[in-house]
């Protein structure tokens, strides 16, 4: 599925790159914030070097390879520099030119990347769509095409090409322009072989400039999973623990706004008839998640082997229908700062296994390597919220200075997993009290679900 979805995504258009570069220019003209002490400078330095080596060098072109060199400066910061290394001999910037064949026209607003058949008068339904790419190495390019299903090698006007024909949808033709190191993907639909050949004949590349070039996508994602090591920490606290967290303040341009959050009550319900039906979030209509008397409908929990959703369907390995419960939590937020704040409601529900050594892990059956997953015992989606915030699928509340606001939130959970359910507070700003027991950036506060009325 990844390959399929990636192949249909456009790279950012040039005007978007311009926006980003303008924002960077504007940002870097501002005064720099004061340097902060970085206690583990070398560790970060090593990480930065690793990342730098993995950053796609899109903006720099392929004629140079760049390497970040980082070193700690007086234990207070990092100095990062860029060194260059000459690589292959092809233009850093290229410009693609397309001679539009008779009977076709460019789709307006597509940066000369899409062409439709004038006889159909319907842009986007047929014709050609171009997706120029560049790979850092020949091996990467071979790996990429090796992952493409059912291609046939052929030659097109003296270039190596790979053709993929599909029963429905857009066929694909990959052409490698060796002199400029561009791997061009041409999607085409409802065109004849001659029209395709004529279209390809009209495509040429010349050397571009920094101000006039064709954007090339770098599809090979080199972010190694080992760089993104994930050192997650869960810690359980008494359910009524009041947490204090700092939020970003536009007034001080720093994380100085202080707020608290506290769970004051929890209820576990089988029946929602007594609740305010208007407080159910739009995606979870009470009339769909419960019967006419308000009893929560059972849910089917399935274990399956993941397909790609296109060529292979998910294969069901096991399935059970089980009752659900609604966990309701009352939470009070208090704004301790001297001005209004906007905050995202950040509580959720997770079902976790607690090991003998006190560590937690997810209860769901999951085997990433074998692509086996199960329906989560709780999907963690907030189904009930009162009072409602603004937005259909997110909630941002404004709390006046020195004021409190109380909310009731609800989540569904598989009934026989309630004993393993925890309310979580995920990364609500920077929690200062109680302090995190580790320096993991992924530190989750857990509050055991117990029914006050049970």
């Amino acid at each position: 599925m990844k390959d399929k979805l990636k192949s249909v995504m456009k790279p950012a258009p040039e005007r978007f790159h311009y926006t980003v570069q303008s924002a960077i220019t504007e940002a870097t003209k501002q005064a720099s914030p004061a340097k902060k002490r970085i206690p583990k400078g070398w560790r970060i330095a090593i990480a930065v070097i690793l990342i730098a080596a993995l950053i796609p060098s899109t903006i720099f072109g392929a004629s140079k390879l760049y390497e970040l060199i980082a070193k700690p400066v007086d234990n207070y910061g990092l100095e990062l520099n860029v060194e260059r290394e000459t690589a292959a001999d092809y233009p850093k910037y290229v410009k693609m030119h397309v001679e539009v064949p008779e009977g076709f026209a460019a789709v307006p607003g597509t940066d000369q990347l899409k062409y439709y058949n004038l006889s159909t008068e319907e842009p986007y339904t047929d014709g050609f769509s171009l997706f120029p790419m560049r790979f850092r190495t020949e091996l990467e390019q071979k790996e990429y095409i090796g992952n493409v299903n059912s291609y046939e090698e052929r030659e097109m006007i003296g270039h190596q090409a790979y053709e993929v024909k599909l029963d429905q949808g857009w066929d694909r033709l990959y052409i490698y322009y060796e002199d400029v190191n561009v791997f061009l993907l041409i999607y085409h639909k409802d065109v004849t072989e001659k029209q395709l050949a004529d279209f390809v004949k009209g495509i040429t590349f010349t050397e571009g400039t920094q101000d006039n070039f064709t954007y090339l996508d770098w599809p090979h994602d080199e972010r190694g999973q080992d760089v993104y090591t994930y050192d997650e920490e869960y810690a359980e606290y008494p359910r009524d623990t009041k947490i204090t967290f700092m939020m970003y303040s536009p007034e001080t341009d720093d994380f100085t706004d202080r707020c608290t959050a506290q769970i004051t009550d929890v209820q576990i319900l089988d029946n929602i008839a007594e609740l305010d039906y208007d407080a159910f979030c739009p995606a979870y209509s009470p009339y769909e998640i419960a019967d006419q008397d308000g009893w929560l409908n059972p849910e089917t929990f399935t274990t399956y082997k993941e397909g790609d959703g296109f060529d292979a369907e998910d294969e069901v390995i096991g399935s059970e229908t089980a009752n659900q419960k609604l966990v309701l939590a009352d939470v009070t937020y208090e704004n301790l700062s001297d001005h209004d704040i906007e905050l995202f409601v950040s509580y959720s529900l997770e079902v976790l296994e607690k090991d003998d050594d006190g560590t937690f892990h997810q209860s769901n059956i999951i085997d990433g390597e074998k692509l086996i997953y199960s329906t989560p015992y709780t999907d963690g989606e907030t189904v009930y919220l009162t009072p409602h915030g603004v937005g259909d699928d997110f909630c941002i509340f404004t709390i006046p200075a020195q004021s409190s606001a109380a909310f009731t939130m609800g989540w569904r959970c598989k009934a026989d997993m309630i004993d393993k359910a925890y309310l979580t507070n995920i990364y609500q700003g920077s929690v200062t009290d109680p302090p995190a027991e580790s320096d993991s950036p992924y530190y989750t506060y857990l509050f055991k679900v117990t029914d006050d009325d049970r």
Partner: protein, 157 residues
Amino acid sequence: MIDNHSFEMLVTAQTDTMYRVSMAMLKNEHDAQDAVHDAVLIAYQNRNQLKHAEYFGTWIVRILINVCKKTLKQRKRYADIGDALPDIASRDNPYLSVEIGEAIDSLPPKIRLTVILYYVEDYSVKEIKEVLRIPEGTVKSRLSKGRELLKDRLTES
């Protein structure tokens, strides 16, 4: 602290991701450009808050998502006072295939963003948990639902 040149490199490397994430949320290139612009400024102002530089990508995307949410909130406000703003600019889309693009666009917003982060941007489930600040089970649930809906909608079409 990240110097200016490195900041530029790190941000530029995220351009495509920021484009697709902001378009997935806002579906309007003009708003998406504004959101990315604001996110870059906020990221620069707060770059000394980034304790772990290796997480720059997920960090700036998280900032961008919050900016997009505020944009959506503002849209909602305008809509509430009767000044309806279009939710979808039909011409702006980040897809090359109309068929699959429409299927992705038809996904509920939360599921759409999760699917794009996982399947297009190659974020792991745990990275998505960090970026969206939702439990791991929620990420998996959205991916599962997303696969199901994509299959249904592509079969229908």
